[in-house]
Amino acid sequence: MTAARYVINEIKGYHRFIKFLIFLVVASALASLVRFVFGLGATTNLNDTYPWGLWISFDVVTAVPLAAGAFTLGAIVHCFHIKKLEPLVRPAIVTGFLGYSLVCVGLLLDLGQPQRGWHVLRYWNLHSPMFEVSMCVMAYTTVLFLEFLSPVCEKFGFYLPLRVLRWLEMPLVIAAAAISTLHQSSLGTFFLIAVDKLHNLWYTPVLPLLFWMSAICAGLSIIILEATASHKWMGQPNEGVLLKTLAKILPWALGAYLCVRIGSLVFLSQGPYFDSPALLILFAIEVGIGFVLPLIMLMQSRIRNSDSRRATAAGLVVFGLVLNRFNVSMFGMMHGDKIYFPSFIESVVTIGIIAAHVLFFVLLAKYFPIFEHHPETVDYSLPDRFQKVGAVGARH
């Protein structure tokens, strides 16, 4: 009783924005219940022509690259050894962990037989990109969970697990990067089977490579956005100096991506590009505003050094990535007069998933040491009562 009252009082004290987020999450949970009672046909606008809709296009195909910051930054900090960026790692890992958990939620809603999700573990089909992605997402969510345990252990003063996690840090970072490379690119492989369905503006045999490279760009941009936002609205320290370094890496990634993208259009794709004006406009907006413009912006130190303009450029990259994933998985697959448009329930669920992400992030940052993390200050040594265990461990 007292615990419940404590929780209620705690929630009453929250900012209005957080209460609004809680409302959105609850609404989306109710909407997803409706899906299970009345079926996919009644609650979504999916049909036999468009079997994949908003839930696949956003909750899976877009949300996964948006959560790519964790592995990108982990590799930059620990493998390329740009240590000063380390304070950004932990928020990125928390974002990644939340992102992937919510991808799993979205996927389960979309499956016709969610209770059989585990079948993927039992009946392997190595030829299926979906099998590959599912395995990787499960493995990577586990890795992120382990990485995410560090702040939790710090908060509660669990020294022994903290030591183990510290020891696992490097293997986890490398596993994260390798697994992410695989599934980020395999999401692109999904659409390689859609020959004659996906429009030539996007269909190219190097789609997996493009998906991986754009995920890196988006991951870096999300970190910039997130750190800027949490400085502005959550009273967290200003990491502008570190973000400047990231903003210096980002144009290289964007430039490389655009080279491969344009190269593949010129050399690899077949068939007409200009047969559908609507798709051409989408393509132009995506590449022009989403990738070329931020590249030009970030090449100027004037923009890299300004917090707000840097964040604008990063926001454009995120916009470009989202539009790209929608173009590939939704718009580019539409033909003729039949058009798919998400239903009310589909939209409510997706909005709720985004709200859940922000909400959990804010709450975690409130209760766990996520931003205050400066690795040199954490005490990894064992307190006296653990000396014995430590000694046993040392003898092995």
Binding site: D48, D110, Q113, N125, I174, A178, I193
Partner: protein, 278 residues
């Protein structure tokens, strides 16, 4: 995935659309044999006289109608839509749980107990065949079974049995020979190709027609087997994993070593300094 040694040994449909009278006996036979519910439809809905307007979870095969003019006369052309039972089926290659497989006898069959309902097969199939039970809370995929149970029992598929004129059923190499015989015997009657001989890497349903295929509503598909399109990327998975993992491990080892060495050097420098001080 494919248990078939030689696709030419499996049984295939040879459907001669010039002989089809549009009686839709196959549609009825399919409904009956598979115990499929009726669908409420309207006459003159959709493109022609066809009914129902599209294949669905309750309609595995359907005759499409098309009227055209020949020598100033109105004529009908027909097209029987059904699963093509590809030799290398895209639906089977993309399914994460391997719910589809190509049988030795020819049909591509679906194991409903495995399916998780992700609908990737529907995205992948170049002919738009697998359909979903949209009205159910826990839907499964439905498509023409090739009447596998009848084949196992030594019978022909229900639609092939019911058809009075147009459908022949037999081993692939024989059916190809028969199709080519007809093409040379009656060159004026047919378009000079066998649809399905090479489409999507070859299928177990082949058509002869008088009108161009696309005019009848046949999908234009690649001649390359579809699973190859994804496999050319997926086969790189192990090497990419090892390259990225190994590369990053090596990189971090080098960088850590560099750091350790520079720290040692600093310490030594400090030590010598302190000695010199003494």
């Amino acid at each position: 995935m494919s248990t078939q040694k030689n696709p030419n040994d499996g049984n295939v449909f040879l459907i001669d659309m010039t002989k089809c009278t549009g009686c839709r006996g196959c549609q009825v036979a399919c409904k009956q044999w598979n115990q499929l519910e009726a669908e409420k439809t309207e006459f003159f809905s959709g493109e022609g006289y066809q009914n129902p307007p599209a294949m669905s979870d309750k309609t595995f095969t359907r005759i499409k109608f098309r009227d055209y003019q020949k020598n100033g006369q109105n004529e009908f052309a027909f097209y029987k839509e059904m699963c093509m039972h590809c030799n290398e089926p895209a639906c089977a290659s993309v399914c994460p749980v391997g719910a589809f497989h190509k049988t030795e006898e020819g049909p591509v069959i679906y194991n409903a107990d495995r399916c998780i309902g992700c609908r990737f097969c529907m995205i992948a199939c170049p002919f738009g065949v697998p359909k979903y039970e949209w009205s159910k809370a826990f839907p499964l995929v439905k498509k023409c079974t090739g009447c596998y149970s009848r084949i196992k029992a030594g019978m022909k598929p229900a639609c092939a049995t019911a058809c009075p004129t147009a459908i022949s059923y037999g081993p692939r190499h024989e059916m190809i020979k028969e199709a080519e015989r007809r093409l040379t015997m009656y060159p004026d009657r047919y378009l000079k190709t066998v649809y399905g001989k090479e489409e999507a890497g070859g299928t177990s349903v082949m058509y002869l027609t008088a009108l161009p295929f696309d005019e009848l509503g046949f999908k234009k598909v690649t001649l390359r087997p579809l699973p190859g399109y994804t496999w050319q990327a997926l086969r790189l998975v192990p090497s990419v994993f090892l390259t990225v993992g190994g590369g990053l491990s090596a990189l971090s080892w080098i960088n850590h070593r560099k750091e350790r060495l520079s720290r040692l050097r600093d310490e030594e420098a400090e030590n010598t300094e302190t000695k010199e001080d003494k």
